[in-house]
């Protein structure tokens, strides 16, 4: 195996340099934020087994493809879900300290759920809404989850009530 490329030493340096660049990049952009991560927020939640189960249902059913769980600074206390400003306060890094994976989401076909339990503290509301969204929210495009076993829906509702 040749260690240099005749006529093209610059390319070998470029490749080596690029790899060095990549490794540096990985350390700076993924390692450093981890080491500098802030402590858990006072409100950061450690889930009970039932809540954790509901969170697994949330992940399994792909709720996070249409619902985010992060409130950006410029929209905090300003975004309008059911009432003006009810999107809630700005999310902080420490809020997620005990979550793996985090469920920040990238798309809002449905509203942000970071504080959904403040808007809907009623368990029965969540269960009815999960079973038949259109009956509760006219014009909603959320699919129904009535096909899920009751235990899964109950756990999911328990988890949703932690989002406050």
């Amino acid at each position: 195996m040749r260690t240099t490329i005749p006529g093209q030493p610059a390319l070998a340096y470029l490749l080596g340099g690029s790899l060095l660049f990549l490794v540096t990049g990985i350390i700076v952009t993924t390692g450093l934020p981890g080491w500098l991560a802030p402590p858990p927020s006072p409100g950061a939640r450690q889930y009970t087994p039932e809540e954790a189960l509901g969170r697994r249902v949330y992940i399994r059913e792909g709720c996070g493809y249409c619902h985010t769980q992060q409130v950006r600074a410029p929209e905090a206390e300003h975004g309008y879900t059911m009432r003006p400003g009810d999107i809630g306060p700005e999310s902080q890094p420490g809020d997620y300290a005990y979550q793996a994976p985090v469920l920040w989401g990238t798309e809002r076909q449905g509203p942000d759920l970071t504080f959904t339990a403040r808007r809907h503290p009623d368990r029965e509301w969540h269960l009815a809404h999960l079973r038949d969204p259109q009956a509760i929210a006219f014009g909603s495009i959320m699919p129904a989850f009535a096909h899920l076993p009751d235990a899964a829906l109950e756990a999911l509702a328990t988890y949703l009530l932690t989002l406050q």
Partner: protein, 474 residues
């Protein structure tokens, strides 16, 4: 400015001699590449149809009433969306990339493939992987991290497959007879090896859960997502484009040096998470690098336009060339849009909206799938001697691009409406959802137009497959 290596795609050797297998019995060359192409087209159809169902779900969730009760779990939006994304990315596009790497690397280095047997196993196991994806995601087996949903065994398999592909690419390069490496070969070497590292790290393959804890999970997730696009799809796609543009236009590459500059890379993915609950400094580093990415993108743009000089008229009667030129143009548009989206103000407006879905279809359908269509036509012509009917090819082109542009303009419009409505703080969320229904309908119709085009495409590939099969039995 033209050195001999710049003409490399023209100077390619003919079909290499049979490669010896492990047992010394010669295996016919290029069969793995051929299998990869036919498999990719099959997965493309599966995932495309799923996309159509997703579009129907967004128009009206009543589509559920047409699904039998026991199937409503697996065939729900939230389970099918990751299936659509993963199969198109890892089935359709990645398997085509594997075909291109396996076919082109020996040609560009003047030797035979390192191991045809290894390549065939790679293809067989890759199909097993995608089968696993198609089954596991609708059944609810997911790690819940976007673009990193695959469960642990599939993560291990995908990492191994990237390494197997890299072994074949690097092994071929190390025994090359052509001393100078054409730029595409550099791209193939980098893409196949680095993606294995990025995939392993981003999917945390040493942990069954696959997730990091807290804020850092999102940071690593989007570091991985960004580099899945950048290291694998962009770097690999540029390698393919920089081969196909000179090859199909008949012109030598304008500047090999400029192409090498296009090798530069952006690593930070935080510009996908602007204003997110992460560190501000990381957002600014990421934004700076997104702006710097304009340099390699411009380098590619100049190379593309200058290489095509004097050959533009040929796009009207050479469909593969038309696809490559379309792909390169859409790629440049993606880059421009990407830089705009990496600014905080604009991101605040369009992030979380349908705009981003438009952006991802611009690049994955408009750019990389366009390269893919050119590759399928070109490689099946070379390997299987397939002849395609230009009328069908043009119908496929017209339906795909016509449908795609309707789709994109609809999603971008819908995204701007969403962003502006939300920013007012005076419009209930559900009112905006209701106002988007006509857009979801147009999006569904555009998807139907594209789907008809893809059926024509699949029909042509099927005929090429049948033609080869009957020639073998004759």
């Amino acid at each position: 400015m033209r050195s001999p290596v710049e003409g490399a795609p023209q100077a390619q050797s003919t079909t290499p001699a049979s490669a010896p297998s492990a047992g010394g019995r010669p295996l016919a060359p290029d069969q793995a590449a051929r299998w990869f192409i036919y498999s990719a087209v099959l997965w493309f159809l599966v995932a495309g149809l799923v996309g159509l169902l997703l579009a129907a779900f967004l128009y009206t969730p009543n589509v559920q009433s047409f699904i039998p009760e026991p199937w409503r779990g697996p065939l729900n939006f939230g389970r099918l969306r990751p299936m659509h994304v993963n199969v198109l990315l890892f089935g359709w596009l990645s398997m085509l990339y594997a075909a291109a790497f396996l076919y082109l690397t020996p040609r560009l280095t003047g030797t035979t493939l390192f191991s045809e047997a290894l390549a065939r196993w790679t293809c067989i196991l890759w199909n097993a992987l995608i089968t696993g994806v198609v089954v596991s995601l609708p059944l609810g087996f997911t790690q819940g991290r976007e673009y990193a949903e695959l469960v642990w065994p599939l993560d291990l398999l995908q990492t191994a497959l990237f390494l197997m592909l890299a072994l074949n690419v690097w092994g071929t390069v190390l025994r090359r007879r052509e001393p100078r490496l054409y730029v595409s070969v550099w791209n193939f070497m980098a893409a196949s090896l680095i993606i294995a590292l990025v995939y392993a790290f981003g999917n945390k393959i040493w942990d069954v859960s696959g997730a990091y804890v807290g804020m850092n999970d999102a940071i690593v997730n989007y570091f991985y997502v960004h580099n899945l696009f950048n290291v694998w799809f962009t770097t690999g796609g540029l390698g393919i484009a920089l081969y196909l543009i000179p090859r199909l236009s008949g012109n030598p590459l304008f500047s090999h040096r400029l192409a090498i500059w296009g090798f530069a890379s952006v690593w930070a993915g935080q510009h996908h998470l602007l204003y997110a609950p992460g560190p501000d400094w990381l957002e600014f580093v990421s934004i700076a690098f997104s702006i710097l990415a304009a340099i390699p993108n411009t380098a590619f743009g100049v190379n593309f336009v200058m290489t095509m000089r004097g050959a533009w008229h040929r796009v009207t009667h050479d469909v593969p060339l038309a696809w490559v030129a379309t792909g390169a143009s859409m790629y440049l548009l993606t880059c421009a849009q990407g830089v705009a989206q990496s600014f905080r103000d604009f991101s605040l407006l369009v992030h979380f909206t349908n705009w981003v879905i438009g952006h991802s279809h611009l690049v994955f359908v408009g750019a990389y799938s366009a390269y893919g269509f050119a590759l399928v036509y070109h490689l099946l012509g070379r390997i299987d001697g397939a002849r395609f009917d230009p009328r069908l090819q043009w119908w496929h082109y017209g339906l795909t691009m016509g449908g795609l542009w309707v789709f994109l303009l609809t999603l971008w419009s819908a995204g701007l409406i969403q962003g502006q409505n939300w920013a007012t703080g005076a419009i209930p969320f559900l009112a905006t959802v209701r106002s988007l229904q006509p857009y979801h309908l147009v999006r569904l119709l555009a998807g139907l137009i594209m789907a008809v085009g893809q059926l024509l495409f699949a029909y042509q590939v099927w005929r090429a497959f049948r033609g080869r099969a009957s020639a073998e039995t004759a």
